[in-house]
């Protein structure tokens, strides 16, 4: 096996995506809304389809806006169903996102006659092909997906650094946040907006189900290791980046042992992230067991 420039770009793209997801993911985990990433990433399908049907093109900008709007709507609808209908929050989420997803499937069937847009390409993504789609930058050619994800990561980092105090209070104690003049509802929807935008931006790169992995798994792994929010954010980024790198390596290295050529990289990244979580969790279990005996 040889390591080519392409592989570097795949790892960089994956790492950027993982880091961009891990930051808002920490707050999702702390606010007990981990499944929101799952919900939003499925629910944006009608947004993509409507944006396409309205403009007739696969231009990134319109699809991006459509998906981000529907992503935010998912959060709003979930809030409505659970508050006005008095439905359990998890169930409300499940109702909203499956209905929206079903609507998206129907619309996509309608759109599919004209363009290569199917649910599969949204859900899987194709990180192996991202290095082929490059754009010119002052520093040389770079994959478009890497640039987009780099931008999202920069925005997420800037937002969290700027509003660190507000996010922290809103995450741990919404009532206190409201009492001290921070609009907890606004922070909630800002977070949802971040998740929606990050999810949509990552579609092309790694596929939505892997976005859910990167939103939840590195953040939870970090949370097992620390009680400090700053450390948790840093650790989650490290875990995300590591699983992107190791995931790609594993996708190339492991399958040949069993006689296959290679495996799906984004799937492997999620698997490796899960293995890392299992390692930390299992280690703590063992440690606790030993201390007790």
């Amino acid at each position: 096996m040889t390591w080519m420039p392409m592989d570097t770009w795949i790892v960089v793209t994956g790492a950027l995506c993982a880091a961009a997801c891990a930051l808002p993911g920490c707050f999702l985990v702390l606010r007990k809304m981990s499944m929101m990433g799952d919900a939003i990433s499925h629910a944006v399908l009608p947004g993509l389809a409507i944006a396409f049907l309205a403009t007739g093109s696969r231009a990134s900008a319109t699809m991006f806006i459509g998906a981000a709007v529907v992503g935010l709507l998912t959060a709003v609808f979930t809030q409505w169903v659970s508050r006005f209908g008095n439905v359990d929050r998890g169930a409300a989420m499940g109702i909203v996102f499956t209905t929206l997803f079903a609507l998206g499937l129907l619309l996509i069937v309608r759109a599919a006659d004209k363009v290569d847009l199917d649910a599969g390409c949204v859900l899987y993504g194709n990180i192996e092909w991202t290095p082929l789609d490059t754009v010119e930058t002052p520093w040389g050619m770079a994959p478009r997906a890497a640039l987009v994800l780099g931008g999202v990561l920069a925005v997420n980092t800037a937002l969290i650094l700027l509003l660190f105090k507000e996010f922290r209070i809103a995450a741990f104690d919404p009532e206190l946040a409201t009492a001290s003049g921070i609009h907890a509802g606004f922070m909630h929807y800002l977070l949802m907006m971040m998740v929606a935008v990050t999810t949509v931006a990552s579609f092309e790169a790694v596929g939505s189900i892997i976005v859910i992995a990167m939103l939840v798994v590195p953040a939870t792994t970090a949370w097992l290791l620390t009680d400090r929010l700053g450390v948790m954010l840093g650790l989650s980024v490290v875990f995300g980046t590591l699983s992107a790198f190791l995931g790609h390596v594993a996708a190339i290295l492991v399958p040949p042992w069993f006689g296959f050529t290679s495996a799906n990289t984004s799937g492997m990244m999620a698997t490796v992230a899960g293995l890392m979580f299992a390692g930390v969790w299992g280690g703590q279990l063992l440690g606790r067991g030993r201390r007790r005996s």
């Binding site: 985990v29 007990k32 809304m33 981990s34 499944m35 990433g37 799952d38 499925h42 209908g85 008095n86 439905v87 359990d88 998890g90 169930a91 409300a92 989420m93 499940g94 109702i95 499956t98 209905t99 997803f101 079903a102 609507l103 499937l105 129907l106 069937v109 309608r110 006659d113 649910a119 599969g120 859900l123 899987y124 189900i209 892997i210 859910i212 992995a213 939103l215 939840v216 798994v217 953040a219 939870t220 949370w223 097992l224 996708a251 399958p255 069993f258 296959f260 050529t261 495996a263 799906n264 984004s266 799937g267 492997m268 990244m269 999620a270 698997t271 992230a273 899960g274 969790w281 279990l285």
Partner: protein, 493 residues
């Protein structure tokens, strides 16, 4: 009887508004709008009749399958919803994927037919159970909450599944079609699938109905169930096993993403119509069955529309309707009840304020309180209400014949209004005395506490209070206020 009005009225309204639109169309009329929206032709009422009456064998198999699936998922989903574990089915269905891939790979390596359905379903069951077991283990052994544990297992198992599928594709062309487990291939259900589905559905429903009492118990009061010696963990496991059965059986029909909708939506819709768990079970099963039947029928009529999505949209519509019009917890019902309560509270505040003003205006404390005019200005100072709100309350009281002789400056209660005011003030005082005597609340603070409770004192409770406070029995008509009235420091509460 009134409860059924809530069901019947919307249904009547629907029937009335639907009738004239569809009747003259004769099959061609509605085609235009359908074509505009989805780009498909409406095939006409004859074809519709054929599908609905299940005349063709293929359609019959598909429609009956989704119907069975809907009924059993609605039943099991109700318990999941009541147990607040709805999203567990999402995790479970995603966790099935690596099992399917691995079963295919192993079977092919062993030289067997990789796509044998029982083998794939066995793999799905095993990995789904493992996934759910891992969620439970994470939750029980660390500080990680339910949601994060489910998110982790869901995404990691699905990632692993994608890896397995990508490997399976390298084995040869025979792996094509494994993806149908993700999105479902309702239209291609064959007799064998139907047989499995029906068998699973029937046995799941049987177990669920047999254990209905036990499941309900752990759903509503887990601690009580445990203290009574019920094996809560075993019951939980049993419930998840049933969920696994329905999920695995339904995977091929509707796909692993939408199967969760089957579990949640009918149950959540049924919850709006009833407070009784048995009624809810039946309703959820019926809603699930009807959604499956309708969705699959429409999909059979209009080629190209995926049945799984249509079924979910049908049940989503049922949910929206139930959420608004539901007779037990519907939004409309709740907001009406809320408004009624608000009005009652406002009325009682007004009456008591008038009574207390009359009481203060007496020459001596021994005089009886009699009906008479009070100034609106004095009323305004009595509570923290705005002039607009006060005027609205007075107008409403006038309409309910509680007042007479209303001018912009003065008002006087009617005979019945004054009686009501006295009765209500008495309730307020009784509760105040009770709080002072038994809850050690200081007399200066008691007014505000009583203000919240007085509106919901039933006649039983009032009788009980009278018994407890024996001096009240001696001065039967109305006890004196235990605190100074009209104290401006209290904000007139």
């Amino acid at each position: 009887m009134r409860r059924w009005v809530w069901v019947a009225l919307p249904l009547l309204w629907m029937a009335a508004s639907a009738g004239p639109v569809h009747a003259p169309s004769g099959g061609e009329g509605t085609g235009v709008s359908l074509k505009e929206v989805f780009g498909v032709e409406w095939p006409g009422w004859r074809a519709f009749g054929e599908v609905v009456m299940l005349k063709k064998h293929n359609t019959r198999v598909v429609v009956l399958s989704t119907c069975w699936l809907g009924v059993s998922a609605g039943l099991v989903g109700s318990f999941l919803l009541l147990r607040k574990r709805s999203l567990m089915s999402d995790t479970l269905s995603h966790a099935c994927l690596p099992g399917i891939g691995l079963a295919f790979l192993l079977a092919t390596a062993a030289g067997m037919e990789g796509k044998s359905l029982p083998l794939l379903l066995l793999g799905a069951t095993v990995s789904g159970t493992l996934g759910v077991g891992w969620v439970m283990a994470i939750r029980n052994t660390s500080r990680i909450k339910d949601d994060a544990a489910m998110g982790i297992v869901l995404s990691v198992f699905f990632g692993l599944g994608v890896v397995m599928l990508s490997l399976a594709q390298q084995v040869g062309g025979s792996a094509a079609g494994l993806e149908s487990f993700i999105y479902g291939k309702t239209a291609s259900i064959v007799d064998q699938d139907y047989a499995i589905l029906k068998w699973v559905a029937v046995s799941v429903m049987g177990v669920a109905l047999l254990l209905q009492k036990e499941f309900t118990l752990i759903c509503f009061d887990e601690a009580f169930a445990r203290s009574q010696g019920w094996p809560v963990h075993a019951l939980d496991l049993m419930l998840l096993l049933l969920v696994t059965g329905v999920t695995v059986a339904g995977l091929q029909a509707v796909g692993l993403i939408l199967i969760i909708a089957y579990m949640i939506i009918p149950a959540a819709s049924a919850r709006f119509w009833t407070h009784r768990s048995r009624v809810m079970l039946v309703l959820a099963a019926v809603i699930g069955g009807i959604s499956g039947w309708l969705g699959a029928s429409v999909s059979a009529l209009i080629p190209g529309l995926p049945a799984g999505a249509l079924i979910v949209l049908v049940s989503g519509t049922v949910f929206l309707f139930s959420m608004v019009f539901g007779s037990a917890r519907g939004v409309l019902k709740q907001s009406l009840a809320h408004r009624r309560l608000r009005r009652k509270v406002g009325r009682q505040h007004l009456l008591r304020a008038v009574y207390e003003l009359r009481e203060e205006g007496r020459a001596s404390r021994r005089d009886p309180v009699v009906n008479g005019p009070v100034a609106v200005e004095a009323l305004l100072a009595k509570r923290s209400w705005t002039r607009t709100k006060l005027m609205r309350l007075i107008r409403r009281a006038r309409r309910e014949d509680l007042t007479e002789k209303v001018t912009p400056e003065r008002l006087q209660l009617s005979e019945s209004g004054f009686g009501e005011a006295a009765r209500h003030t008495r309730n307020h005082r009784l509760w105040e005395l009770y709080l002072i005597r038994f809850a050690d609340v200081a007399p200066r603070h008691v007014d505000r506490d009583a203000d919240r409770v007085e509106h919901v004192l039933g006649s039983d409770l009032v009788r009980k209070l009278e018994e407890e406070l024996d001096e009240v029995r001696r001065e039967r008509p109305l006890p004196e206020s235990p605190h100074a009235l009209g104290d401006p420091e209290r904000g007139g509460a």
